[in-house]
Amino acid sequence: MSRTWVTPGGVHPPENKHQSVTLPIGQLPIPEKLVIPLSQHIGAPATPCVEIGQQVLKGQIIAQAVGMVSIPMHAPSSGTISAIEHRPIAHASGMLAPCIEITTDGADTWIEHQGISDYEHISPKKLLEIVGNAGISGMGGAGFPSAVKLNPGRQRPIDTLIVNATECEPYITADDSAIRERAGEIVEGIKILSAILDHPTNIMIGIEDNKPEAIAALAPHVEDSGISVVVFPTKYPSGGEKQLIYILTGKELPAGKLPADEGMVCINIGTTYAIKRAVTDGEPLISRVTTVTGDAVGTPRNYDTLIGTPVRHLLEHNQFDEQAGGRVVMGGPMMGFTLPSADVPIVKTTNCILAPSYAEIPDDEPAQPCIRCGMCAQACPVSLLPQQLFWYAQAEEHERLEAHNLFDCIECGACSYVCPSNIPLVQYYRAAKGDIRQAREEKVKSDHARDRFEFHKERIEQAEREKEAKRAARREATQQAKADHLAATANGSEVSSAAPTAPATPAGAVPSSSAADIIAAAQARAAAKQASPEDQRAKLERTIASAEQRLKMAEEKLTEAINDDSGKQDKLSAAVENTRQKLEQSKSKLAELAE
């Protein structure tokens, strides 16, 4: 047996695993309604590709993946799409999220699907595509899309494949029972993974020594396959990715690095089973093994549960005693969270539904002040200083929190478990992490706003400058024109006021500035306009005609006004006078032109 390493810290809470493994994995009747959240994974939520009222078959795609880091969703059973709307989902906030609801028809009719038996001869790229299209995301906890995790587009080849069968959290036996009953398929899944990753030299299944039956079940299947089953002493938390990698390889993964950066891939054993089903049977991920346990349920056991099954359905078929237990927890007692309601659906990462009685898991004792005993520091599997983090989280000292590596905290709850003062330490860290993330986002936003504001200011200033420049140019031009005019009159040169003459530049005033050029050009243009006397005459005649008409009308109005005595006479008579003057002007111009 290969060597194992021991992680720092850790705790040994009562395991309580035996209750749920007495019975084999059970099947539940198909629930009337299945609710499939569009975001069950890390990454972009899927987009629905079905309509309300549409008939769907089991395994049919109902929502497409969006972008690189995303997975599609499939109908877990046949039926009719009855709603696409926001529903409560399994989230600690109790908020709603977009979901697709399927009203099942009970027939459970599969869509046509086909697996591949000789995956050895299929390119890893094609296998990855199958895994991606089957909607497989990590089933251990975080729910990272598996096809992205396994994508070989990286600098380092993968030399170590670690299959996580640790299942270190109390009560949960989903992986344990899956291995007991499906060891052969799981090992086949690992072989497919090995093919996808171009046959890593080192393939290990990491499993705690509290699952002897599972270890025994794996043994015959891994013989001569190059896969080693590594058994190590039970301790919580050993199942975290970084913890398991350390236990099996002795390598500590640096903060902020992924296993792939060190040539490793760590994958949950439930995921390997899903990959096997997807590749050799062509079945997408539409069900998973979920433990239903706790003293408040009648028969704790594991169920092969359809994704989207309401938690209530599971509990009802298991004689849930609402009086005995007040709450339902999704996940284990250490890292799980109390569900806002039992109507939320099972998702791809739900490994356990825990309905404890009050006696089993009493409500939290009221927190006492920290006495600086340091037990949390001894329990921390990441060698952090939980008590310091607690102080800084209370004081909201974000810089200090980051300096004390808050973001390396895996939120395992070992510190809260050992705390003699019952301080909910993890909740402080989660809150502090949320605050810091929010502050970072706000910083990005405010930097962006600053850039936009500065650009805005710059734009306004530039517009102002341009206006000012135009104004200055105009001022200069008028001044220049005035100067030219003065110079011209002073020289006594004959500047003909008659229109058709060419623009004569006075001999004395040689245009030197560009403004003068502009004036000259303008004069030239004006002269060109007036160049033809014919045109001018026609224009004048038109003006005279219209003026005569206007005059006539104005006079009519004036007489009318005088008759009415409406007090408008003054205005109107002025207007008439005005028009008459204009008419006379035009007439005299015409006469001039005719000469």
């Binding site: 989902i89 989230h91 600690a92 906030s93 908020m95 709603l96 999220a97 409500d363 004792e365 009221p366 927190a367 006492q368 002040p369 920290c370 989280a393 209370q394 909201e396 003062s421 301080i423 909910p424 909740q427 402080y428 989660r430 809150a431 502090a432 992490k433 949320g434 605050d435 993330r437 929010q438 986002e441 706000e442 936003k445 405010s446 930097d447 962006h448 706003a449 600053r450 936009r452 504001f453 650009f455 805005h456 200011k457 734009r459």
Partner: protein, 209 residues
């Protein structure tokens, strides 16, 4: 050489010292030119801490002018959008005691807001577009305007110029992606009988009596 120094010790010392001072003076002069800091770094640092809403509630036209004013000795509690956390951060930076927010400039609001134009009522006057410090309002004369919600800093400056009052400041709804855990109640604030709505027996007896 050594003889010469031994014969004129005072002179030699003087020459050595003058030589050294010229050398180091040149070095310092070069360093001052080479590593010259353009602008006032403290203004930059204060500006970094301000929320950049550019709302002008502090009485300055934007965040940077206020940062400059703080650097020149102005009080640090005139920024309602930043609130107490910004005041604390600036106080920390300048190593001064952190005062309370000056209520004269406004109150710190709990929720972030963004401007929303009721588009049916918008007459297309462009007044809000001119008022927006971050160019977050889109539209043209006599055409409907709209706010680019992602760019809006919630500064409020567009609300007042609107002649038909069609701009609302709406709170930004918390979504499931930006929801975060809250800090639990401080230890020692809860007593055992507070659990599950149980009433302290002592209090109950008092009520009965």
């Amino acid at each position: 050489m050594i003889e010469l120094i031994a014969q004129n010790p005072i002179l030699a010392a003087l020459v050595a010292l003058v030589g050294l001072s010229i050398l180091f003076g040149a070095l310092l002069g070069f360093a001052a030119e080479k590593f010259k800091v353009v602008g006032d770094p403290i203004v930059e640092q204060i500006d970094e801490l301000l929320p950049q809403t550019q709302c002008g509630q502090c009485g300055f036209p934007g965040c940077r002018p206020y940062a400059e004013s703080i650097a020149n000795g102005d009080v640090i509690n005139k920024c309602p959008p930043g609130g107490q956390s910004t005041i604390n951060a600036i106080a920390n930076l300048l190593d001064v005691p952190a005062p309370e927010l000056d209520a004269e400039h406004g109150e710190e609001s709990e929720v972030k807001t963004v401007a929303y134009i009721r588009e049916d009522e918008c007459i297309g006057c462009t007044k809000c577009i001119q008022a927006c410090p971050v160019d977050a309002i889109l539209g043209a004369a006599k055409l409907m305007h709209t706010v680019i919600a992602d760019e809006c800093t919630g500064c409020d400056l567009c609300v007042e110029p609107c002649p038909v009052d069609c701009i609302d400041m709406l709170p930004v709804a918390e979504t499931i992606t930006d929801w975060k855990w809250s800090i639990p109640a401080k230890p020692g604030q809860m007593i055992a009988t507070d659990r599950r709505g149980e009433v302290n027996p002592a209090v109950q007896n008092e009520d009965a009596a």
